[in-house]
């Protein structure tokens, strides 16, 4: 539309840039926090890591298409909740969105906390010479729980500071984190296995008090733990078994979808897709480069064995403590290639920005869903109340913080076998994504007027709407993931029907959401308000 025919009116702002969307999505699929954390846990798979990285990204690209399309059709805050409730109905929308974007994020808090200690606290304390404190954080349950509590404190602080400040932190973290990653890659590409081995022995000894023969002991422990995952290769079937774990890292380019809708110009399908898609593509590429660089200097086998040695002990499969008493963080290992303390500090400090730029995502989406539910009168009004002075959603925050403390306690002290629930955090959100994907598939047929007047109406594949085609492909991918997680025929993921605690925990979340929805619906009806109508479409004629 020519600007000639656009008149003076409020709100006619230009759309955001591809770069904006790219940064947001890049932090959501965070190579350093989620990526390295996941890669280190995937030591027992037989399919190639790089193959799984590429193939999963291809499928997740269709997720990008689905979400970019839905944003452009209905660009409103609330994302999955809005789309599902408008297309599949209020009950489905509420139960899936609340469980996926609120309750299950309680479980993400100890995971964020675990990444915080491994990526920020331990390496920084190690480089600064605080050996005992570093080891306390790295290797004790009290240290892990404390890291979760500090995470809660930092995230709450960011929420209190407001979106504007957090956006600045995120932007600074992006550039700083990228610089750190560049240094790490250069160190790893210019180093040699011999230099690394020597650097590991000497630096680990000075920072964490390890004894001689650390490298060989780690190889031995890792081999005993069953470290077998190759860098690349493996049959397609074996690679496909790696993917349900890989997506713990890369299923999230759409994480900001609930926020995109708040920006005018979000109806631009191609721009949204370019932002999220390029983040997915570049993260995949960076992942391959980083893994290649790790192979070049740290050595692939040693990297996988070090991860195996750590997690085999952390998950309680052995009583033998790992020779390296800290999580084998590749950035820290890369810093061992130099003895210059300033460079070491710079590397781990810059790399820690990947965590700081990302951490508040655990509460941002959840507090938005809590607000949306309160606006729909499915929660008490006080839940959406903001503190007058700071603008902080105190009660919404408490609904995140208090349950998160309980879940973090259960997780870090591994009560009720809670640490086996790690992948539940992904499973439940994948169910939410499946609901949204089904909404996308049926949208052109159940809401034809809305679809035909949207910017995506012109995109078809063999006469079938692109959103439907992309939805079927991504939906099929999600169904495959859910099958592997729930039925787990090869006993690889540990959260399926063989893990009673896992099933009970997830079902408990859904039941809680259903109780809230139907309970409040009945309560409002008694007050004369039919919540069934608030999502229903008013007839036009």
């Amino acid at each position: 539309m020519s600007n000639l025919f656009v008149r003076k009116a409020t709100g006619l702002v230009r759309s955001w840039s591809v770069m904006d969307a790219f940064i947001y999505a890049l932090f959501s699929i965070n190579l350093i926090t989620l990526g390295l954390y996941s890669f280190s846990q995937m030591y027992y798979f037989e399919g190639g890591m790089v193959n799984a990285l590429i193939i999963s990204a291809i499928f997740i690209f269709f997720e990008v298409v689905v979400y970019a399309a839905l944003i452009s059709v209905m660009p409103r805050s609330g994302g999955d909740y809005v789309w599902q409730s408008r297309i599949l109905g209020g009950a489905v929308g509420f139960i899936l969105a609340v469980t996926g974007w609120w309750f299950i994020l309680w479980l993400w808090v100890p995971l964020y906390g675990d990444m915080f200690r491994h990526i920020v606290l331990v390496p920084l304390l190690g480089v600064l010479g605080a050996k005992e404190t570093a080891l306390w954080f790295a290797g004790t349950q009290n240290g892990a729980f404390t890291a979760s509590l500090i995470t809660l404190g930092i995230v709450s602080l960011f929420i209190v500071l407001g979106m504007k400040t957090y956006a600045r932190i995120q932007k600074f973290s992006f550039y700083g984190g990228m610089l750190g990653l560049l240094i790490v890659i250069v160190l790893l590409l210019t180093g040699s296995p011999e230099a690394f081995k020597a650097g590991l022995e000497s630096n680990a000894a000075s920072m964490f008090g390890t004894g001689a023969g650390l490298y060989d002991q780690t190889v031995s422990l890792g081999t005993e733990a069953g470290a077998i995952t190759p860098f690349a290769g493996g049959s397609l079937a074996l690679v496909f078994l790696v993917i349900p774990y890989m997506v713990f890292f890369n299923l999230w380019p759409n994480w900001g979808a609930t926020l995109y809708g708040e920006v005018r110009g979000a109806t631009d399908f191609k721009r949204n897709m370019a932002g999220m898609g390029s983040a997915l593509g570049i993260t995949t590429l960076l992942g391959i480069v980083l893994l290649y660089a790790i192979r070049n200097t740290i050595g692939w086998d040693f990297y996988v064995q070090a991860g195996a040695a750590w997690w085999n002990y952390a998950w309680g499969f052995t009583d033998v403590t790992p020779a390296l008493p800290v999580w084998p963080y590749p950035a820290l290992l890369a810093s061992f290639l130099t003895t210059n303390k300033l460079v070491q500090f710079l590397v781990v400090a810059l790399m820690s920005l990947w965590w700081f730029g990302w951490c508040a995502t655990v509460f941002l989406s959840s507090t938005r869903v809590i607000f949306a539910a309160a606006f729909d009168r499915l929660l008490p009004e006080s839940v959406a109340k903001l503190d007058e002075r700071t603008g902080t959603p105190v009660n919404a925050l408490l609904l995140m913080v208090v349950p998160s403390v309980v879940v973090a306690y259960l997780f870090n002290y591994n009560l009720l076998n809670f640490q086996t629930l790690t992948l539940c955090s992904t499973l439940v959100i994948a169910v939410t994504f499946l609901g949204t994907t089904i909404s996308a598939i049926v949208l052109p047929y159940t809401k034809p007027d809305l679809y035909r007047s949207s910017p995506i109406a012109k995109y078809n594949v063999l006469g079938i709407p692109l959103i439907t085609v992309a939805g079927v492909i991504f939906g099929g991918f999600l169904v495959y993931l859910l099958y592997q997680w729930i039925f787990d025929p090869n006993l690889l993921y540990g959260i399926g029907i063989s893990n009673t605690n896992s099933i009970l925990y997830m079902l408990g979340n859904y039941v809680l959401a259903a109780v809230i929805y139907f309970g409040f619906k009945a309560y409002r009806k008694s007050k004369g308000i039919d919540l069934g109508k608030v999502q229903a479409e008013i007839p036009v004629e």
Binding site: K8, T10, R14, M74, A167, I529, V534, E537, I538, V540
Partner: protein, 313 residues
């Protein structure tokens, strides 16, 4: 007990206007109130290509239509999104590029034509229902809109008035806003807004039981968070940087008068509820471009808000 249905910022969307007129019956509401910004933001040229062929660019997509049915359908689509279809030729487009005054005239004519049609539709649909719509044009609405609304039998122009609703509640109304970066039709400085509000509130017989139907939301109410913009009116920090842009004068007025209810709009992404002292303030937000009518259903009891809910119709 009475039930109010409130919607706002429908910006020229035919679908939203029709839904609004049907909302009373659909939600069992007793009273319809429309906030400001009834008029659309853009004209969409339908450029004649010869014969019965037209080329239309809508939302960056180019559409070629060649039959009467396709043309009718396309006009409907454009109108449903809140834009104004304008039949033209390549030659006229070239002339208009050099004549912004003429473009403004076309815009005004299209806007007024649609408002006229809306009033006629309201008179037809609401006749015999006993339902009246109270509205106050917003900062995006030209002055000429007022006369057309005044001529309606079923839509009451409430701007600057203290109106007594059937339920007995008094309502003040205004579509004027504090200053915006777009320099729109009805905006003024905060001290002038305060004078405007005081002129109405001083006439209230029962201020604590009153309704404020004011287009702008009160400052720092969480109903007025809009993306911070740079000098090119582009959102800063990927739109994550939000700032309050509501009226400080209105906030002061609400704090002083403490009415029962505040009904607001203006900031489409500011959907929500907020309490300022004892006053419940609501901004139902707007999704006019998707043809979705966002609204608020409020049940008012004796000197209190019994219950409320935000609707997505």
């Amino acid at each position: 007990m009475t039930t109010i249905f409130f919607a706002t910022d429908i910006h020229g969307s035919d679908i939203c206007w029709s839904k609004f007129l049907n909302a009373g019956k659909f939600y069992n509401a007793d009273q319809l109130i429309l906030g400001g910004d009834m008029t659309g933001k853009a004209v969409v040229p339908f450029i004649h290509q010869g014969g019965s062929n037209y080329r239309i660019t809508l939302l960056e997509q180019v559409f070629d239509v060649s039959t009467e049915d396709e043309l009718t359908d396309m006009k409907k689509r454009v109108r449903s999104r809140g834009y104004y279809p304008y039949m033209t030729t390549p030659d006229e487009i070239a002339e208009l590029e050099k004549d912004p005054q003429r473009v403004s005239e076309i815009f005004l004519a299209e806007v007024l034509k649609v408002v006229q049609q809306w009033m006629e539709l309201a008179d037809k649909k609401l006749e015999g229902t006993g339902m009246t719509v109270y509205c106050c044009p917003g900062n995006d609405d030209m002055d000429e809109v007022d006369e057309i609304v005044r001529s309606s039998r079923s839509v009451v122009l409430a701007e600057g008035q203290v109106t007594s609703l059937k339920s007995g509640h008094e309502m003040i109304a205004s579509g004027w806003s504090n200053r915006t970066p777009w320099d729109t039709h009805r905006e003024e400085d905060e001290d002038q807004l305060k004078v405007r509000y005081d002129a109405m509130t001083s006439q209230l017989k029962d201020p604590h039981n009153a309704i404020f139907n004011i287009h702008v939301p009160p400052y720092k109410s969480n109903l007025d968070e809009a993306p911070e913009l740079d000098e090119n009116l582009r959102p800063k920090m990927a739109g994550q940087s939000m700032k309050p842009v509501g009226s400080t004068a209105l906030r002061r007025s609400i704090e002083e008068v403490q009415p029962l209810l505040g009904l607001h709009g203006h900031i489409h992404e500011g959907r929500g509820v907020s309490r300022i002292g004892k006053t419940l303030c609501i901004n139902p937000g707007s999704m006019y471009e998707q043809g979705t009518l966002l609204g608020a259903l409020v049940r008012l009891g004796k000197r209190k808000v019994e219950d409320y809910v935000l609707t997505t119709g």
